[in-house]
Symmetry: C2
Subunit: 443 residues, 2 copies
């Protein structure tokens, strides 16, 4: 659907046409089309959405739009939307809304829902509890398949998923039945005879990243969440897990470029917000690079005597930084995907050492030759080649050790990425370079 045409029809108050268009559009697309509207126009357009899609469109809207609608809705409209919203979407929204609107919402929902919302809101940020929904289908073990299907017919329509159902015995999870099992079993069979008892679950306090990983590892559509007493309190569904995976990758990538991650998208974050997320790391890294600067001052005599030495500094620092960040990146990603663990530290170091030798030799040869041809200076070729090999070995070692060390002391390995490693490697490479140069040139 062309957004422009939609806007024109809305502006011309062609409500019948707008309604027909909304009728055939997907909820996700409606939400993104309405994104361009503001204020009263938004409320007007929202009221034209077919009733059965309204809640789904609302759930897919960004926070600014949701806030505005919550504020403008009549109490009846608000109650209708909230009744249809899945509980985890309601909680997601509440986490971002200003306090007065949170109060408005909590005053409209029934007491039971309010209790559940408050419980979820109380789980630590980024925990399984904070992203779960309490709306799942549960069976008793002595139900027949026919009774279970009847139970789904009755209650399933309001549940986030019916594809994985949970068999409970006084709130303790004793088995899992998939809709596939139900559809391919005989009507008279008992749930306890068809249920799967090999249960994969997470705790309310499990980090949401681990929840997503577990779901993906075992190819599940939903995973049960148990409280500290082992009682079942909710589920996390695969669509939420996908969002978590995407967010976590974004967070890691942002941290690896020396920024504080933002929950909002690029354009949603203000200029001040962006500046704030970036300035701290820039200040830290800038101060540490002044260390490299003072080391250079220390060798003033050397480059006063042989000014050519200065011209190789960018190449050495650059290559060192790049080599270090290559190793760091692979280790950080390996740690995130559970392909590398702290116990692999010596395997990783040995591997990186051998890679350093190959890479170092090739780069040293290329540079040595270039210097010999351009400057006919064997000593300089020797200094640069040696410095390169040493820099590459050091930088790859630092590059793999820092993220592993961070993991060990429970820091996020992603902050040990390119920028921090480049700074450290810069200092090392300058020191090694001038140490070698002063010796070879006998300065």
């Amino acid at each position: 659907m062309d957004k422009e045409i939609f806007m024109k029809l809305l502006a011309a108050r062609e409500f019948k046409a707008v309604r027909s268009i909304l009728n055939v559009m997907n909820s996700v697309d409606i939400a993104s089309t309405l994104e361009e509207l503001e204020g009263k126009e938004l409320v007007l357009a929202f009221r034209l959405i077919p009733k059965d899609k309204a809640a789904d469109v609302f759930a897919n809207m960004n926070n600014t739009m949701q806030s505005y609608l919550v504020e403008m809705f009549t109490e009846k409209e608000l109650r209708e939307i909230l009744d249809e919203l899945f509980l985890d979407d309601t909680v997601d929204m509440l986490e971002e809304l200003p306090a007065n609107l949170v109060t408005r919402i909590l005053s409209v929902v029934d007491k039971d829902t309010r209790t559940q919302i408050n419980a979820i809101l109380n789980y630590p940020e980024d925990s399984a509890g904070s992203i779960m929904t309490t709306e799942y289908v549960s069976f008793k073990k002595n139900m027949t398949v026919a009774a279970a299907v009847a139970h789904i017919k009755e209650t399933g329509i309001h549940k986030e998923t019916i594809y994985t159902c949970y068999v409970l015995d006084s709130r303790r999870l004793i088995g899992i039945v998939s809709a596939k099992d139900l559809l391919t079993s005989d009507d008279n069979e008992h749930i306890e005879d068809i249920m799967e008892t090999e249960i994969i679950s997470v705790d309310t306090h499990t980090d949401k990243e681990d929840v997503a990983k577990t779901l993906s590892k075992y190819d599940l559509l939903a995973i049960p969440v148990l409280d500290a007493d082992g009682l079942m309190v909710g589920i996390v569904t695969v669509d939420d897990a996908m969002d978590v995976m995407e967010d976590e990758a974004t967070e890691d990538i942002t941290k690896m470029a020396a920024m504080n991650p933002s929950e909002k998208s690029y354009f949603e974050t203000s200029v001040w917000g962006h500046a704030k997320n970036r300035i701290v790391w820039l200040l830290v890294l800038m101060l540490s690079s002044t260390v490299t600067g003072s080391i250079l001052t220390h060798y003033e005599a050397a480059f006063q005597a042989i000014p050519l030495l200065v011209s190789f500094i960018p190449m050495l620092m650059g290559t060192g930084g790049n080599c270090g960040s290559q190793s760091a990146t692979l280790v950080i990603r390996g740690l995130a995907l559970d392909e590398i663990h702290f116990s692999d530290i010596f395997r990783v170091m040995f591997k990186e050492f051998r890679i350093s030798l190959i890479v170092g030799f090739i780069l040293a040869a290329a540079n040595g030759l270039r210097i010999l041809i351009m400057y006919r200076n064997i000593q300089m070729a020797l200094v640069i080649s040696l410095s390169l090999v040493a820099t590459i070995i050091i930088s790859k070692t630092i590059g793999c050790l820092l993220p592993l060390g961070a993991k060990k002391i429970h820091l996020d390995p992603a902050i040990m990425a390119a920028p921090l490693i480049s700074m450290l490697v810069d200092t090392c490479s300058v020191m090694v370079y001038f140490a070698i140069a002063t010796r070879v040139f006998d300065l």
Copy 2:
């Protein structure tokens, strides 16, 4: 399950205990436990796995293990496993196996399956066609719900998913029915009355990354794949989409650190493989950094006169590189998530410009003060502060323009990340620095 205990029991030929353990373990965990076995031991252990789990364990194994087993299986064993494997898992495996084993497998499967496998293998790498499965449940529009459920009971057990079923009219997709619809509808209703006609689909040639994004955007469990004539040929399920998302994030992160991405994990890639993936970019970046070096040589007279100038080079180049890579990273990720498009180029530039001013002013002030206090040199403070602001504005502009430009000319924006940008920014910052210095100090 403790791997060590398992290995000891297997080595002691305690088959009964091993079998009991395998009986209660999850297939994914069995596959990862067996990873440590080699040769005959692996085949031995595999034969102890309960029949109903064997294919699932096999699908979760890495390629080396699969190759070995395919080679060692009897024809009967091989046929049994292949019968149980989902078609997309079989194709995944075939793509990595040596030619003689591919022939062995194709000779064992029936003619129909062989045709389907060959069709999937012929789709371009990374396309929807190459990752889809052809095993889905299809209905006719005039079936009743009861007949549809009976159809699932009959054929569903061998399909990868039964949760999204497809209504076909001479292979043309006319509607979608979810298992939820089936379970919550009356037995006598007709499929065409309960089916959803708002269909979201992809083409066989759609990039797999876009397939995963579409699945995630619309919160689908499976997405239909249509051929060039609009006929339905297969589906991609959510678990495969999650794997694609993870792989794509890894690929982007690897490219952003100036490496060629590898399909294998860190440890699976050989030392030579790692060296090969890293060396090309290092050589390119090294050569470009010699440009910066020659610019420095050009200003020999300047740092001969004021050696202190050299000591600020690492700080300027480092800060420029970091600022540029911050902007580049956010733009690259924004492009990957479809939050930023090429048409936003001026919005992004203006935003980055304002951020540059804030960040530049703070860093310039911090440095200017430090230089005033440490060296009591107003001219030097002025040179560094001005150079910093200019470098930051230039680097943030380059940082946002390059990935957007790459996107426009259909290159992967991820290669326009930190390393390449640092190199470009290095050259610019050195030029700006000495241009300002020679003027202020009147050199």
